[in-house]
């Protein structure tokens, strides 16, 4: 919202105030100022001019010649503005004036010829003399300033504008106009706040019939009829204020309603009374199939929750949002009804968003305005019309239909409470002074205060003692509060098990094993799921996805990781990535949202992975992880059924810890690679971290060191492919269980000659607890190995 310091100056004396410092104070105590804009147009050689006559330009269709009355002289200028016509008052920049071209570059006007016609000076648009960005036509003024008056004598063109962040005002219904802002400034500056309205001379006539049929949605409706109005441009001072606050002047009546709205914060609406059937105004909910065409030309189909202003036959305004086209004030309007009302915030917000029209009006009514603002706005409007349209006449009584019961908000609070909440020893005296400066009424009883909240802050803003703490704090200045650490009790040490598991995994993967941690979205793309062959049902779907491509939450961590592989494989480098994150499984109430780990090894360079190198690397990764997690050792079991399309039926295994399946590892199913056009060979390791962290902690205990040396013995066994390493190892353990300490498979050899057999090499450590073993004994054992292996597995031992 744009706030003009000239406008503020109407209500609080800003003489001698350092505006930069003030804007800083305002940001710290009230609301954030995004930008301070200094308007400083060059006003030399600018004059009020009356266009006496308009002649066609002999050499150009779009240009015309304006003969301008400059008081004691007449001046001819060439002008292309569409709104040029005889009789209007405008601003003429004479030769020597500094004006801006369409790009904003300044240049000095010289006498010139435009298409062979002499033009001394120009009639200007607001943008050409730096008043606003408006360049739709030349400035149009009323006749209150005589032709020939130098602009610099008539008004001050300089202004300082604050652009206040609207979001920082959402909770302050009183700050949506200059009056409210000025009140805050007066309090910050300890200066007087001058805002007095006098009751206009209303008539006693009752030419209108007004009925509020929906008092809940419209707690106050006031109206007054004004006759003998002449529609014309508004005076220069008002146009300047509107320019400076980024509004476009329209005509005097519309500009007056805007001026009052930007002053009091309460929106107004003026109807042309000739378009109100039977002089009847009804405030009611919209009827079924009713429509309205608003001022912007849009037609809206209404529902019963929309509040409308209607006459005897039709809707004439969408209440609090926008007026209807059918009752708009136009140039021929001579009698108006001025509406100044209060509407229910929630209802306005819903209507505005339902019909996609957010206006200055709806933005204000949404904030729960003080119903008394409706009175202030009506009175201010009558005052300004009286001043600038002296021939006009208030031709009705003041209709004031109010369902508001004057409810005072009184908050009892103690000064100690305030001091405690702020953590500062601010005095009782200072507390009372600050509250009074903000228009609060105080009844003091020593420490105890009874604070009556002014009506404009009592609609929702200030209701509880904590709200008053904020008022004291912000005006006192939070900078004046000394930081202080709280004195607290000691806590038991605490560590969430899932966090510990995640951190251990992260350290092992990122630091130990060279993985890159990535994060992906909690959403998953629909076409990705389709390619993978997952159905979209049975997933958490969004009502309003950002894009149609991502309509559901991920149920598994795998698809997004495969997408990451696709994204990175063209860099032709081995990919080692993992993500720790939640997946989402529908359930009654809140979905189940387990924390998962998804680990990927992918190699874009590998032609084929028949040996399963990546698979056994992933196995290595998982073994390492579980050696850190204090949950006991890990086992891998083949041929477990998993219901995911990316599982490779032959190259996959369940990950078992403490007899529970906590995840799986698998080569990527080649059909998925084909469908997604993944070139790399990929292996996945997936773990359910919630499950793992819920398992009992297990710690490997110390083993006494052996007293006598052991002997390592290597055997290579040629054996059928279908017999697993594990089975062979079991058999080896059985040969001499008392002496066997360790068996390690250190080599696997396959070749075409071996056909469907292979060679497995084991290193066995034999050790006796009480003596040193001799080679003779080992030879004996070797014979036994040869025999047992042959009998139990059919394998033969080399050499």
């Amino acid at each position: 919202m744009k706030i003009s310091m000239n406008w503020i100056g109407k209500y609080v004396d800003l003489n001698g105030v350092d505006l930069d410092e003030l804007s800083n104070r305002f940001t710290l105590s009230v609301a954030e100022i995004d930008e301070v804009i200094k308007i400083n147009p060059k006003s030399n050689h600018l004059y009020i001019a009356r266009v006496d006559e308009v002649k066609p330009h002999p050499n150009a269709d779009k240009l015309r010649i304006a003969i301008c009355n400059m008081g004691n002289r007449s001046q001819e200028v060439v002008c292309g503005a569409p709104n040029l016509k005889p009789g209007i008052y405008s601003v003429l920049a004479d030769t020597g004036a500094v004006v801006k071209d369409p790009k904003g570059e300044e240049f000095t006007l010289k006498e010139t010829k435009i298409r062979d016609v002499k033009s001394s000076g120009m009639l200007v648009s607001p943008s050409e003399i730096g008043l606003s960005h408006d360049h739709g036509g030349i400035i149009e003024l009323d006749n209150s300033l005589a032709a020939g008056t130098p602009l610099s004598e008539a008004v001050s063109l300089q202004d300082t504008i604050w652009d206040i962040d609207n979001k920082s005002l959402t909770h302050r219904p009183d700050l949506w106009g200059h009056v409210g802002i000025a009140r805050e400034i007066a309090s910050l500056l300890h200066r007087n706040f001058n805002y007095n309205l006098t009751k206009p001379d209303f008539s006693t006539e009752e030419p209108l019939q007004i009925k509020v049929e929906a008092p809940v949605l419209c707690p106050r409706y006031t109206a007054v009829k004004i006759s003998k109005i002449k529609i014309k441009p508004s005076p220069l001072w008002l146009q300047l204020l509107l320019f400076h606050t980024d509004q476009r002047p329209v005509n005097n009546i519309v500009d007056f309603t805007n001026f009052v709205m930007f002053s009091t914060g309460n929106p107004l609406h003026a109807f042309d009374i000739n378009h109100i059937k039977d002089n009847k105004i009804i405030i009611r909910r919209a009827r079924p199939r009713e429509t309205i065409t608003t001022l912007d030309g849009e037609k809206h189909a209404l529902i019963g929750d929309d509040l409308v202003i209607a006459d005897n036959q039709r809707t004439i305004a969408l209440a609090g949002v926008m007026g209807g086209q059918n009752s708009e004030v136009v140039e021929s309007t001579s009698e108006i009804v001025l509406e100044s009302a209060s509407f229910k915030a929630g209802s306005i917000r819903k209507t505005a968003s339902r019909h996609g029209i957010r206006t200055e009006s709806s933005a204000r009514f949404e904030k729960s305005l003080d119903p008394d603002f409706a009175r202030q706005a009506a009175w201010m409007f009558c005052d300004i019309v009286d001043k600038y349209l002296p021939d006009s006449e208030i031709s009705s009584k003041w209709y004031d239909l109010s369902a508001v019961i004057d409810q005072k908000v009184v908050i009892p609070i103690s000064c100690d409470f305030i001091r405690q909440k702020l953590g500062n020893s601010i005095s009782n005296h200072k507390i009372v002074k600050i509250l009074k400066s903000l228009d609060f009424k105080i009844e003091e009883d020593k420490e105890q205060l009874k604070v009556t909240v002014p009506s404009y802050r009592a609609t929702k803003d200030i209701l509880i003692p904590e709200d008053l703490v904020e008022e004291i704090g912000r005006i006192f200045g939070y900078d004046n509060i000394k930081p202080q650490l709280p004195a607290v009790k000691m806590n038991k040490p605490f560590y969430l098990p899932i966090k510990k598991v995640q951190n251990l995994i992260r350290n092992e993967l990122s630091i130990g094993l060279g993985f890159n941690e990535i994060m992906t979205y909690s959403f998953v793309k629909q076409d990705l799921l389709t390619e993978i062959g997952e159905n979209i049902q049975d997933r958490l779907a969004l009502v309003n996805p950002i894009s149609k491509e991502e309509p559901v939450l991920r149920k598994n961590i795998v698809p997004n990781l495969l997408e990451a592989v696709l994204k990175n494989e063209r860099n032709q480098e081995t990919i080692r990535i993992y993500e720790l994150g939640r997946v989402f499984k529908p359930e009654k109430g809140l979905p189940r949202q387990p924390q998962m780990a998804g680990i990927v090894i992918a190699d874009p360079e590998l032609e084929s992975d028949e040996e399963g190198t990546l698979f056994f690397q992933m196995k290595f990764v998982l073994e390492n992880l579980f050696s850190r997690l204090e949950r006991g050792s890990v086992e891998f079991i083949a041929n477990k059924h998993f219901d995911h399309p990316w599982i490779h039926p032959a190259k996959s295994a369940a990950v078992i810890v403490q007899d529970k399946t906590v995840g799986y590892l698998t080569s990527l199913n080649p059909y998925i690679s084909k469908n997604l056009q993944i070139k790399s060979k990929v292996t996945l390791g997936i773990l359910d971290l919630d499950l793992i962290s819920s398992l009992e902690k297990k710690i490997e205990l110390f083993q006494p060191l052996p007293k006598y040396p052991g002997i390592s013995h290597d055997v290579s066994i040629i054996i059928d492919n279908k017999i697993s390493r594990e089975e062979v190892e079991k058999v080896l353990w059985q040969v001499e269980p008392q002496l066997t300490r360790q068996i390690e498979c250190f080599d696997v050899y396959t070749s075409k000659e071996l056909k469907n057999k292979r060679s497995l090499s084991f290193r066995i450590l034999f050790q006796h607890p009480e003596k040193t073993l001799k080679q003779k004994k080992i030879k004996k054992i070797h014979k036994k190995i040869v025999k047992t292996v042959k009998e139990k597995t059919g394998g033969t031992i080399l050499s």
Binding site: R506, R576, F584, L590
Partner: protein, 347 residues
């Protein structure tokens, strides 16, 4: 000529029938369609065909070529399918074979996690619990219980992803305030980091998913002075230097009074520069004293307990620290981004 075409076609089709590997298929393709392939030679020989027959013969050769090409493609698909079928049906893959160590490579931790770990470590030292809460929340925890009723304008500010089951993606980490108050007895001090979501189109500086950390302290008689005190020492721990902070009024329905906390611009030391938009201060985090309605919604008596809370954007902090220009990198999955952050770890 036509006979010859017929003969070559027949030969090709018979040979193709028997092919069962991609290598042999390549050889076959060269043999018939390569530079000196049998069909290619036929095509080259068209010049010698008498003019009156040329059209007919030409069509026949071309037809033959197109047919063989299609058959090769078909065969290729079949062989690939066969390879896949063999692969997934193989019985000789022994998962019990020993695991294989990975060659050495440099790993990295996600930049948001690097920052998050620092934040967690600092608060752990101050005796704060580190908690973890859901991304899918219900309306009550995300709005209602946080003093944001249905018609409250705050719901405008945080446009929300709604789920068809009536739940929503949390728009902030604040629902954790209510859950923490319900889960643990006061006095309580905790932080809870995590993903949050806003219904927003993405571009260089906007992202619908990002990371925040919420802080909450509940005790008797906590004050604004305490909040400033903790924030100051925490920020000094994170930035590893002296930090000047200031509070100004900020509106958040779940705190009263509510603040925006600014830090003195570290880029210019407060003199004004592009980073701080020449104000000398950078807006860092919203905070405030917990609203009595929220204390009540957390199951506690606001006449006994009060507290303060803050919400800090971890993604934003990472952007500030590493001067990252595009917010979409964080969840974009491009390794060239993640590999740049080599610090952190071992918490």
């Amino acid at each position: 000529m036509l006979d010859k075409i017929k003969e070559i076609r027949k030969k090709a089709l018979t040979e193709l029938e028997k092919i069962n590997s991609l290598e042999i298929l390549r050889d076959f393709e060269v043999k018939f369609l390569g530079k000196k392939g049998e069909i290619t030679i036929l095509l080259k020989g068209m010049g010698q065909v008498p003019r009156e027959n040329r059209k007919k013969v030409g069509q026949a050769v071309n037809g033959c070529k197109v047919e063989i090409q299609a058959k090769i493609k078909e065969k290729e698909e079949k062989i690939k399918e066969m390879i896949i079928e063999q692969d997934i049906n193989r019985k000789d893959f022994d998962i019990t074979l020993p695991s294989q160590p990975l060659p050495h490579k440099k790993g990295t931790i996600h930049p948001v996690v690097i920052i998050q770990n620092k934040v967690e470590a600092a608060f752990e030292q101050l005796g704060f619990k580190v908690l973890d809460y859901f991304e899918v929340e219900d309306d009550w925890h995300n709005f209602e219980g946080l003093n944001i009723p249905e018609e409250h304008p705050a719901r405008d500010m945080q446009d929300t992803f709604w789920l068809k089951d009536g739940n929503l993606l949390r728009t902030h980490t604040s629902p954790g305030q209510l859950r923490a108050m319900h889960n643990y007895n006061p006095p309580l001090r905790a932080i809870f980091p995590g993903k949050v979501f806003r219904y927003e189109k993405t571009d260089a500086s906007h992202e619908h998913t990002f990371h925040q950390v919420e802080g909450l302290m509940i005790d008797k008689n906590l004050s604004v002075a305490n909040l400033i005190g903790i924030m100051k020492i925490f920020l000094e721990a994170i930035f590893e230097r002296k930090v000047d902070v200031r509070l100004r009024p900020g509106f958040f329905p779940f705190v009263e009074p509510g603040f925006e906390l600014d830090i003195k611009c570290m880029n210019c030391g407060g003199n004004g520069c592009r980073v701080c938009k020449y104000s000398g201060w950078v807006e860092l985090l919203p905070c405030g004293l917990v609203h009595p309605n929220v204390i009540r919604a957390g199951g506690l008596d606001p006449d006994i307990w009060n507290g303060w809370a803050f919400g800090l954007g971890l993604t934003r902090l990472a952007m500030m620290k590493y001067k990252i220009s595009h917010i979409t990198h964080f969840l974009g999955g491009d390794l060239r981004f993640y590999r740049q952050f080599t610090e952190g770890g071992l918490k």
